[in-house]
Symmetry: C2
Subunit: 289 residues, 2 copies
C-alpha cells in the first residue's frame, strides 16, 4: 500500500473477518503502518461489502493456505466486488497453547479451538492424551471466551497475538504439526493505482473449451519470458464446459512486455481481469515457472 494513502496520525480503518487477535489482524499489522483501527466482520461477504461501500480504507483477507489450498470463495468475492490486490504477505500458521493469566498446564483439562486448528495439532494431543478437545467457533474467539468466562481448567489454541490481545498467557508455542503451514493474506482496496515497487500481478481469465487452449494462453507469457508464480483452474458453475484460471506472474502492468502479453491474452480469451499489481512478499517469494 502506498504510504501516501495514509493520513498522518489518523488511524487506517481495516476490515477483517472474525475476532481481534486473529491471524488476519496479524497480517494487517504487517502490511498497514500503525495506527490501525479494525472493523471486525462476521463473514467475508460483509468484509467485501463494507470495503466496497467505503466504510474502511481497505480490508485484509486470506486467499490461499499451503495445506488447504486456494480459498475459492474469496477469489469469487474479489472478482464480484472489483476490489484490487494492493499488497500480500505470507504468514506462518503458528499455534500456541493459551490459558488465563497465572494459569498452569497442570490445571488444564479441556482445550478449545476451531476444529481446523485442533486438527492441525494432532501430535500435541497424542502427547497429552488426557486433554479433551472442545470445538470453538474461532481460534482467537476461543481465547476471548476462556478469558471472559474465567475458565481455569481450559486452554485455547490460537496465535500468540490472541493471548496478548485478551491478556492471556502463552503456555506453549509452535504446537502445530507441520512447519509448512502458511497462509497468504492480501490487502484489498477499491483504488487501482499501481506503485513502481509492484513486481507481481494477479489475473483471472476464461476461455471457451478447446484442446490446447490453455497452452496457447501460456504462450503469451512464455514468448515474452514472463515468469509465472501460480496457476490454478476452476470450473465455472452454471456454465459447464468453461473454466476460470487464476494466474500470478512476475511483472508490473506498466511494463510494455506485460501490457503486450495481456493484450495478446485478450485475443485468446473470453475475458481477462487484472486482480491487482503489487509488491510480492519477499520473505516467502515464489520464483517463476
Amino acid at each position: 500500500m502506498d504510504v501516501d494513502r495514509y493520513d498522518k496520525g489518523k488511524a487506517t480503518r481495516v476490515a477483517i473477518q472474525g475476532e481481534r487477535g486473529s491471524f488476519s489482524e496479524q497480517a494487517a499489522r504487517q502490511m498497514v503502518p500503525a495506527p490501525v483501527e479494525f472493523l471486525c466482520c462476521r463473514t467475508f461477504d460483509e468484509v467485501f461489502q463494507r470495503t466496497t461501500r467505503g466504510e474502511c480504507g481497505c480490508c485484509v483477507i486470506p486467499i490461499e493456505n499451503s495445506l488447504a489450498g486456494s480459498i475459492h470463495r474469496n477469489y469469487d468475492l474479489l472478482v464480484r466486488h472489483g476490489l484490487r490486490i494492493r499488497q500480500e504477505t505470507n504468514l506462518p500458521v503458528e499455534h500456541s497453547l493459551i490459558v488465563l493469566a497465572g494459569g498452569r498446564f497442570e490445571h488444564v483439562k479441556t482445550v478449545r479451538s476451531h476444529p481446523v486448528a485442533l486438527d492441525q495439532c494432532e501430535r500435541f494431543f497424542e502427547r497429552y492424551p488426557h486433554l479433551v478437545r472442545e470445538t470453538g467457533y474461532d481460534t482467537s474467539g476461543s481465547v476471548k471466551e476462556i478469558v471472559e468466562e474465567g475458565l481455569r481448567d481450559h486452554a485455547a489454541i490460537a496465535s500468540r497475538n490472541a493471548a496478548r490481545f485478551y491478556g492471556a498467557k502463552v503456555l506453549m508455542e509452535r504446537i502445530e504439526d507441520s512447519e509448512e503451514n502458511f497462509t497468504r493474506f492480501v490487502l484489498l482496496s477499491s483504488r487501482s493505482s499501481v506503485s513502481e515497487a509492484a513486481d507481481k500481478t494477479s489475473i483471472v481469465f476464461s476461455f471457451k473449451n478447446a484442446a490446447g487452449a490453455l497452452f496457447k494462453c501460456l504462450s503469451v507469457f512464455a514468448l515474452r519470458d514472463i515468469d509465472l508464480t501460480k496457476i490454478e483452474s476452476r470450473p465455472i458453475h452454471g456454465r459447464p464446459w468453461e473454466y476460470l484460471f487464476y494466474l500470478d506472474f512476475l511483472g508490473n502492468t506498466g511494463e510494455a512486455r506485460v501490457r503486450n502479453a495481456l493484450s495478446h491474452l485478450g485475443e485468446l480469451t473470453e475475458f481477462v481481469n487484472v486482480l491487482g499489481c503489487y509488491p510480492r512478499d519477499a520473505t516467502h517469494a515464489r520464483k517463476g515457472m
Copy 2:
C-alpha cells in the same frame, strides 16, 4: 473400481474419515457396490495408514471442493502413501436441518454443526435470527450427539443421510446458501491395475524453476491433442524454488499417445507420478482445456 475386485456377498471394507452418515459415506456408497462395511477413522492420516496396511480394501476421501479448493493435505498423503485413485464422484454439498424423530421447528432454539457447515447456511440464519448457532466437531457427529443426548430444543445441520443413519428427522432440505458447492471424492486402493473404462488420469510432477518450463510441460499434451481438465501449482516447502503440479487429463495410460506424452514429460521434469487412471464422473464431468 472393477467389479471383479469384490467377493460376492462379502462386505467391502472402506475406510472413511469421521462419523457414519457423513458425505464421505455417501460418496463411498455411490462408488462401491453393497454390501459395504465402514472403518471410521479420526484423521485422514489414519485413513491412509490403515488402507496402506491392508486393514480395508479401499478408502474414500474428499480431494477438492468447488468453493474451498483442492485439499492439499490429502494430495500430500496420496503422494506419500502411494495409493492409487481408482474412481471419482462429485457430490453436491446439500445441508438439511435435522431434529429428533417427532421434533418440531417451533421447539428448536439452538442449531449445532461444524463451523464450515454453519457458515454455508448464512441465509438460513438471517431468515431465522432467533436461532443460536452452536459449534460441533462434525456435521453427522452433531446429529449423533443430539439423538444420543435427546436434545429436544436442538437441531443439527448435516446431510439427509445422517438423519437416516441416526433415526432423526429432516425438517428442511437444501438450506445451504450456494447451489454451486460440490465436493470431489476419490476412491483409493493399493492396486494399480487400470480398467479399460478408465478415461481420466491424474498425475503430479515437478521441475526445477525456469521461465517457460510449465509451458514446455504442457506442450507434451497439446502436441498430442490431449485435453486437460485440471491444473494446479503448489510450492514445495523446504525446497524454495520448486513446485508440484497437479494435472488431470482425459486419456487412459494404456493408450500410445498417453504413454508417449508421459515419457516426453519425464524428459522435462524431475519426477512424474501417476496418481491414478480411472473412469471420470460423467454427471459433473469437466471437459478439456
